[in-house]
C-alpha cells in the first residue's frame, strides 16, 4: 500500500517543476507558425490582411508570429509543468470572493461587529 498521492505537492523550498518538459523550444519556428496560422484559421481570424513585414505598420505578420511563438515556447510550458496538488488547490476564478474570506466578514457584520458607527 502506498498512501502518497500521485499528485505534485505545493512547492515550499525548491519550487519549479519536478517533471520537466521537452516543451516547444525543440519545435522549429516554421512548424510553430504553421500551427499558429492553422489555429487562427480555425477560429476565423485572418492575419493575411496585415503586411508581412513592415516595422512602420501598427502590426505585421512577422511580429505577431514572434509574439505568439513566445507565449507557446516560453510561457505556457512553465505553467503546464508547475506542480500544484489538486487536493489542496482547486480552481478559483475570484479569489477575494472565496466564502472563506467573504463569509467571515459578512457573518461578523451580521453580528453587529462592523456596523453602527457613523463618521
Amino acid at each position: 500500500m502506498n498512501s502518497t498521492p500521485p499528485f505534485s505537492p505545493f512547492p515550499t523550498a525548491s519550487g519549479s517543476s519536478r517533471h520537466g518538459s521537452p516543451g516547444t523550444h525543440q519545435i522549429e519556428d516554421e512548424e510553430l507558425d504553421r500551427w499558429i496560422l492553422t489555429r487562427l484559421a480555425m477560429v476565423g481570424v485572418d492575419l493575411g490582411v496585415l503586411p508581412e513585414d513592415d516595422p512602420d505598420a501598427p502590426a505585421d505578420q512577422r511580429r505577431v508570429l514572434v509574439s505568439l511563438r513566445q507565449i507557446l515556447r516560453e510561457r505556457m510550458p512553465v505553467v503546464s509543468d508547475y506542480p500544484l496538488d489538486p487536493m489542496q488547490f482547486p480552481p478559483v476564478l475570484y479569489p477575494a470572493h472565496l466564502p472563506e474570506v467573504r463569509e467571515a466578514t459578512v457573518v461578523r457584520a451580521d453580528e453587529g461587529d462592523i456596523l453602527g458607527e457613523g463618521p
Partner: protein, 558 residues
C-alpha cells in the same frame, strides 16, 4: 460568537475595527469546506436584477467628514484658484456657501481650455453639460457627498449619450445609451464629469491612439513625451495632477490605476475585486478589472470610493460581499499625544530588498518607513517562500490574456487591424490551452493562501514592488507619493505601493492619511507648461509626440 481576530485593529477612540481585521486568518482554511457548502445551499444571498441605486454608504451624508476641514490649512494658492483645492476641501467650502459650483467648475474648464492642448488628458470635454449641471446644483442644497465636484472619467466607462471610444478603432462610433453603474453613482452623489479621459487603447498601455501615436503627457514633464504619464489611466492621472479635474476614476487590470498614480504623484486606490461594479465598463479581464479613484490625497480617494462602491444588481461579481464600510471615517486623521497616529494598530510588512532599492527608490522607501513608525505603525520583515516569485511571474500573468481575448473574438474575426498596436495581447488568449488556463485558476488559490498565510498572518499592510500579485487575487492596492526621482532629466514624484488583505481599503486609507497628515509630498504640484513647452507641443511646427510600436505595447500590455 465572533472568532478571535488575527492581527490587529482595535482603536480605543473608534472601537469598530477596519474590515480586513474581521477576516479570521487562523481558521481561514478550515472554514472553506463548510462555507462552500453553505453558499451552495443559498447561504449567500444574491439580489435580483434591478435599477442602479445610489452607493449605500456611509451611514451619514458625510457632514462630519466635511466639518473636519481646517480653513487655516487650505493652500494659499487656492485663494486665487479653486482648482488648487482638494475635492474634500472644495466640498467643505461649497457646503458652507463659500464656493459656488459654477465658479468652481468654470475654474477647471478655463484650465482645460488653456492647457489641455499640451497635456491631452481628455479625449472628449463636456463643457456645456458640466456648466449646466453646475448651475443646477448651485440652486440645490449641497447635501450629497460629491456635490459640485468636477471629475475626469476614463473613456472605457460607459457614458449615456456621450462617445465612449476607449481609444480603439472598435469603439470609435460607440455612444452608450446608459451610464456605467459607477458613473451613475458618481452623478447621483453630485459629481460633475468634465470629460472622458485618455487611456491606452482598450486600457492596455500608456495613452495612445489606436495605431500607437502618443497623446497624453505626464503633468510633471509636459514638453517631453519620453516621460510616461503611466498607463493605462493616463488621462485621469494627468487631469488631476495638472488641475484639469478635482479627482478622477480609472480602471485597473494590471496596474492601470497604481502605475499612473505613481508616475504622477497621486494617491491611487484599487479596491478589492467586487467593491465597485464593472457593469458598463469595457472589459479587459473579467476576473481582474477594478474601478477606483486616482486622487490628490487619501481623503479624496475615500470620498470617490464611498460614492461609487457597493453591490450592483447588474454585476453579480459585486453580490454577497461584506457591506461597504465608512471609508470617509477611515481617511480622517487621528491626532495622538505626539502628533498624527494611524487610526488602528497596524503592522507593515516589508519584503527582502524592498527598502534597499537602488537610488531614489530606496531613499523614498526608507523615508516612508520612518514616517510609518512615527505614526505608530510597526514594521516587520517578511520572508516569502520560492513560490512567491514563481506564482507572480510573467508566465502565470500571461494567463489573463484568455479573458482579454474572449469578448473580442468577433472583432478579431472581422479585421485584426481594428486592434492597431495592441493586437498581440488580444490574440494571445487563443494560444493558451484549457488545461493551462485551469492551472492558472488553481495558482490563484495557491497565491491567495501564500499571501494570507505567509504575509497577512504577520502584518496588515504589505509593501510591494509590483501590482501583479494583488491584481491577480483581487486584493486592494494603494499608492502614496513619497519623495522624488529623476528620469530623462526631470525631477518627478516618487512613491510607494501598499497592499492589504481583502476588504482592507480602510486599513490602507488610515495609513495613508496618517502619513499625509505629517508630510507634504501629496501637496506638491507641477508648474503649468512653459511657453517653450507649449510651443513645442502645440505650435504650428510641433513635431509628432512619437509612437509606441507593437513590441513595446505588447511588453507594456503584459
Amino acid at each position: 460568537m465572533t472568532a478571535q481576530v488575527a492581527g490587529s485593529g482595535r482603536d480605543m477612540a473608534h472601537p469598530r475595527p477596519p474590515q480586513d481585521a474581521l477576516v479570521d486568518r487562523r481558521d481561514f482554511m478550515a472554514r472553506m469546506g463548510a462555507l462552500a457548502a453553505l453558499a451552495a445551499l443559498g447561504g449567500c444571498a444574491v439580489r435580483e436584477p434591478g435599477e442602479v441605486a445610489a452607493a449605500p454608504g456611509p451611514a451619514s451624508d458625510g457632514a462630519a467628514f466635511f466639518r473636519a476641514v481646517s480653513r487655516s490649512d487650505l493652500p494659499q494658492e487656492a485663494s486665487t484658484d479653486p482648482a488648487e483645492l482638494t475635492a474634500w476641501e472644495a466640498g467643505a467650502l461649497i457646503r458652507d456657501g463659500d464656493l459656488g459650483v459654477e465658479e468652481y467648475v468654470e475654474a477647471y474648464l478655463e484650465r482645460i481650455r488653456r492647457w489641455d492642448g499640451v497635456y491631452q488628458a481628455y479625449g472628449h470635454v463636456l463643457e456645456e453639460e458640466a456648466l449646466a449641471e453646475a448651475r443646477r446644483q448651485d440652486s440645490a442644497s449641497p447635501r450629497s457627498l460629491l456635490h459640485g465636484i468636477p471629475l475626469a472619467i476614463k473613456d472605457n466607462v460607459y457614458s449615456a449619450g456621450i462617445p465612449t471610444r476607449a481609444n480603439s478603432h472598435i469603439f470609435r462610433d460607440f455612444v452608450p445609451d446608459e451610464d456605467a453603474t459607477v458613473l451613475a453613482r458618481l452623478r447621483m452623489a453630485g459629481g460633475i464629469p468634465l470629460g472622458k479621459s485618455q487611456l491606452g487603447p482598450l486600457a492596455t498601455t500608456r495613452a495612445l491612439t489606436p495605431d500607437g501615436e502618443i497623446t497624453t503627457m505626464n503633468a510633471w514633464a509636459p514638453g517631453d513625451p519620453r516621460v510616461s504619464p503611466g498607463g493605462s489611466s493616463s488621462g485621469s492621472a494627468t487631469a488631476v495632477m495638472a488641475r484639469l479635474a478635482a479627482s478622477s476614476i480609472g480602471t485597473q487590470t494590471g496596474g492601470s490605476i497604481t502605475m499612473p498614480s505613481l508616475a504622477q504623484g497621486l494617491t491611487g486606490l484599487k479596491p478589492t475585486f467586487g467593491r465597485t461594479s464593472l457593469h458598463g465598463v469595457i472589459p479587459l479581464s473579467y476576473s481582474r478589472d477594478h474601478v477606483g479613484p486616482l486622487a490628490r490625497d487619501a481623503r479624496d480617494a475615500a470620498l470617490i470610493l464611498q460614492a461609487m462602491a457597493g453591490a450592483d444588481p447588474r454585476d453579480p461579481r459585486t453580490q454577497g460581499l461584506p457591506p461597504v464600510p465608512d471609508f470617509l471615517n477611515a481617511s480622517l486623521p487621528v491626532e495622538g499625544p505626539n502628533g498624527p497616529r494611524v487610526r488602528w494598530p497596524t503592522r507593515i510588512g516589508v519584503l527582502p530588498g524592498w527598502a534597499g532599492a537602488p537610488e531614489e527608490d530606496g531613499a523614498n522607501r526608507q523615508a516612508f518607513l520612518a514616517e510609518a513608525r512615527e505614526v505608530g505603525a510597526e514594521v516587520v520583515e517578511l520572508d516569502p517562500p520560492p513560490a512567491w516569485e514563481e506564482l507572480t511571474s510573467i508566465h502565470f500573468n500571461t494567463l489573463r490574456l484568455v479573458e482579454r481575448t474572449e469578448p473580442f473574438v468577433p472583432y478579431l474575426k472581422e479585421d485584426v487591424r481594428l486592434f492597431g498596436v495592441t493586437l498581440n495581447s488580444f490574440l494571445g488568449g487563443l494560444f493558451v490551452s484549457g488545461d493551462e488556463y485551469m492551472k492558472g485558476q488553481r495558482a490563484k488559490l495557491a497565491l491567495l493562501r501564500l499571501v494570507m498565510d505567509e504575509f497577512l498572518s504577520q502584518c496588515d499592510v504589505v509593501m510591494l514592488e509590483s501590482h501583479v500579485p494583488f491584481d491577480m487575487i483581487g486584493f486592494p492596492l494603494m499608492t502614496l507619493p513619497v519623495g522624488t526621482r529623476q528620469a530623462e532629466g526631470h525631477t518627478l514624484p516618487g512613491g510607494v505601493l501598499m497592499g492589504a488583505g481583502p476588504f482592507g481599503e480602510e486599513r490602507l486609507l488610515a495609513v495613508a492619511t496618517a502619513i499625509q497628515a505629517r508630510t507634504d509630498w501629496h501637496r506638491r504640484r507641477p508648474d503649468d507648461p512653459t511657453e517653450a513647452e507649449e510651443a513645442r507641443m502645440t505650435g504650428p511646427n510641433a513635431p509628432s509626440r512619437g509612437h509606441l510600436d507593437l513590441e513595446t505595447v505588447t511588453r507594456e500590455a503584459e
